[in-house]
Symmetry: C2
Subunit: 153 residues, 2 copies
DNA sequence: CCTGAAAACAGACCCCC
DNA sequence: GGGGGTCTGTTTTCAGG
């Protein structure tokens, strides 16, 4: 599962995380190599699943998605069928940007992006109507201090 | 701050969020337009800051970043100087992928990606040695159910 | 594994509608 | 604001060291 990468691979990944629109020539120049080897390494890392996709990062505020909530969920249900339905709801709802199953007394955490608090309430009502949940705490973000997709290499 | 976008702009953004490596011709074909108008719209959305950047999304597991923590922080300090130092630490630390200032009794939430629990402890020790913090709860992710950069349009 | 060249392709920008 | 064409640069492939 863990890919074996050398220093050159890592340098390429650092650059691609910063700006995936860099040309091969430019990447090659910055890592001290040339086009073809860089291209082969990128292709290999794609095939290995190290590079998952190439995406455009948008500004949520500019799109009117001005509210961000972290939702802490406790549940009494731990049956397979309940969990299957719960996960399906999370995956189907586009306002759920992240969902993790946790260790400890809180069972799940969600990150939810919506236009405003009203829209969060709509989401919340829909969620609890679809699956039974024991306890929910919503943490409202006042300020996004940092948000990056760049992983530490 | 909120950009005015029409249906065509939104369709283009949906495609670019899915796969930013699509060619202009391909995007134009799928949204029912042609190269030049699509190119002009993308350029405009870049200039407006709707499109922030283009990036490669990597698989954290494949890079050996197998531990993910959500960190809930309470602080007694609310002075400007303390806050400035705290935010600087968060921005400087590459393992902090997200940081939000919250409303309510929890002051901050962080998302932290590290190779393992040992590395989290190292981060935690460094954090509390650099700034005074009243109370910290770390939530360990057992399973990433969903993680997307695709915003709902 | 790298270099260098060649071919296919896509981006950027024109002018005309 | 959209459409077509063109030049330029980039990606991708391949032969050879």
């Amino acid at each position: 599962m863990v890919a074996r990468l050398d220093e050159m691979d890592r340098k390429i990944l650092v650059l691609l995380q910063e700006d995936a629109s860099l040309s091969l020539d430019e990447i090659a120049r910055r890592v001290g190599s040339s086009k073809t080897p860089v291209w082969n390494r990128i292709r290999r890392m794609r095939e290995q699943g190290v590079i998952l996709k190439q995406t455009a990062i948008l500004d949520p505020e500019a799109l009117g998605l001005e509210a961000c909530f972290f939702v802490l969920i406790r549940t009494s249900e731990h049956e397979a069928e309940w969990q299957r339905r719960f996960l399906q709801v999370l995956r189907d709802r586009p306002e759920v940007l992240e969902a993790h199953r946790l260790a400890g007394d809180i069972d799940y955490i969600l990150k939810v992006r919506v236009p405003n608090a009203r829209a969060y309430d709509t989401f919340y009502q829909a969620l609890i109507s679809e699956v039974k949940i024991y306890n929910v705490t919503a943490l409202l973000s006042m300020e996004e201090i940092k948000a990056t997709t760049v992983l530490p290499l």
